[in-house]
């Protein structure tokens, strides 16, 4: 199903979770295993297969963390 690819520049992420909340496919989540230099567990793709490349996550991200590509 995946037609999209999202890339996270995790060092910028502040774990606000807006991308997670608004991803229509529920493809995103926080990476509880990592802490970035800003002190946060950054957001990441938990289920890449679901991503349609709709761009909503990037649209809502306040910190320019996400780049999205679509087939």
């Amino acid at each position: 199903m995946a037609k999209g690819r999202v890339r996270f520049y995790s060092d910028r992420c502040k774990a606000c979770e807006l991308c997670i909340k608004f991803c229509p496919k529920g493809a995103l989540g926080l990476d509880k295993k990592n802490i970035n230099a800003l002190g946060y567990h950054p957001a990441t793709v938990v289920d890449p297969e679901r991503c349609t490349g709709c761009g909503t996550c990037a649209l809502m991200c306040p910190d320019l963390v996400i780049e999205v590509e679509r087939e």
Binding site: I35, A37, L38, G39
Partner: protein, 182 residues
Amino acid sequence: MAEKQVLFAGFGGQGVLSMGQFLTHAALSAGKHVSWVPSYGAEMRGGTANCLVTISDEEISSPVTENPLMAVILNRPSLDKFENKIKPNGTLVVNSSLVDREPERDDLKILKIPVNKLADELGNPRGANMILLGAYMEKTQVVEVERTLEYFDVIFKGKKEEIIQKNKEAFLAGIEYARRHW
């Protein structure tokens, strides 16, 4: 006791200022002269924060110094900024969860503790600062830890019981860690 100056430094959100305030209150309760001097900057979000606590048996003339005896460091930028300022043979306490390099100075007493990890384990991620404080106070006894525990409720006066409890737990966990590892 001669005058002791302790610096607390980390991200704005890490509870650095309240760590210092807690220590100040504790020292006051123990009958000391105290002062607490924060870096301030609510005008700037997302920066680093620090505060300097002075504890003394005598009147404090200068509440500021560039060269504290001890530093409690919660993140990497603070280590970079303050490592070289600590007095010769002073003490450096480091949050090894977030500080990804070794201190460079070899004259300092260095105490490491992974507080974010410990806090996560404790199920109280916001308690990291109290863990660190507990460990630091237990080890250095700048203010007697026993007396501090006595005054715990007084210091947190006005706070919700639940919150006090959580803080106390974290503080105790820190004491525990210091006893075991340092």
